[in-house]
Symmetry: C2
Subunit: 189 residues, 2 copies
DNA sequence: ACTATAGCGGAGGTACCCCTCCACTTCTAG
DNA sequence: CTAGAAGTGGAGGGGTACCTCCGCTATAGT
């Protein structure tokens, strides 16, 4: 959550120097993350400040625009997702791919910002998208090389398919898993 | 759009009697449909009235609550979708199913309300959901009976999968089609 | 301890949006 | 033609959100 520089994803916002300010900064980040998760990109900034227990002025000083706040949260999320790609590195090809995608689904299910982001074309999204692709493409290509995934589709197709399933509502988690599996069966060879 | 009673989907709102009032009513419905399509369920009622070229008061007289307006629009949409099931009746089983689903995707892509609706459980959604299921299930079962669709999944799984793909953002329509096809390959036998 | 200063927070202006209410306009039946 | 019923629309009250501004407070370096 507190950022660990990696893959060019550092937000364009710098953590303040003073200890008390840093506390507020982190509280804001956490509150924003929760709020964005629950209510999407449009969550009220005033409520975020309230949740973080700071004044609205403090929020605006740290993050002059909604975009700045969003980036700070969002880059953190994407980073975690990318890191998850390492965790599956030593599974067999197809399993590694599906495990990562499952994590993508489960992870992003509560954080729809990531999905909303897959679509827009603002600069920050491009950066984040590239990071996600950098993390996922090797898994996909490994599966293809092992003859486990069809070669007539792009990783982009796959990721969008999965992200769609993430966004969809399901009765329960079992159904989500089941449907994901069906869809992935279309990719498996 | 102007409602054609069918499958218990008549909205709980009645069209006014006077000619001028009826014109306004229809204009509101059209404007609301566009607005909901563009901005989702939360579109501003005042803007809808503006688009329809009527006063806000007129909107409220015809549709006392946002829900009323939404139902009126939404039931019309669902009806059209159900009607589309008839159009594919004489295609071969698998083709009939996929064609209908493709229409579902294309149709609902601009009208996300339908998808948002698949999830909530208010009474009206139940009604609409049932109508959609009544229209689609036969197509699915026919494909299953013909040995063209796997039998270990429910129509509900399928529809949610497809609706997820609908909601997802794609680079272009070609990609949308491609991804839909991949996902459906997971269902085909 | 002391002070310069980074940081704080919330009042308040602006802009929407929701919804109600009612003086006014338009339609239509007779 | 006409009168009453049906319908109109927008002003206005109550909310909430955005964002700025600035007098006050807590911190860090000496």
């Amino acid at each position: 959550m507190t950022q660990t520089p990696r893959s060019g994803l550092e937000a364009a916002v710098k953590r303040p120097q003073r200890a008390d300010a840093r506390r507020n900064f982190d509280a804001l980040l956490t509150a924003a993350r929760d709020a964005f998760a629950e209510q999407g990109t449009g969550a009220s900034l005033e409520e975020i400040a309230r949740r973080a227990g700071v004044g609205i002025g403090t929020l605006y000083r740290n993050f002059p625009t909604r975009q700045d706040l969003f980036e700070a949260v969002y880059f953190g999320e994407v980073e975690e997702l990318c890191a998850a790609a390492d965790d599956v590195a030593d599974l067999p090809p197809w399993e590694a791919l599906t495990t990562w995608l499952a994590r993508f689904v489960q992870y992003a299910a509560t954080k729809r910002a990531i999905i909303e982001a897959l679509n827009r074309d603002a600069a920050m999204f491009t950066t984040a998208r590239e990071a996600m692709y950098a993390a996922g493409t090797p898994l996909f290509e490994r599966a293809q090389a092992a003859g486990e995934a069809r070669t007539d589709i792009a990783f982009d197709d796959l990721l969008r398919m999965v992200s769609g399933l993430t966004a969809a509502g399901f009765v329960d988690d079992a159904q989500r898993q089941r449907v994901l599996k069906i869809a992935l069966d279309g990719v498996h060879t």
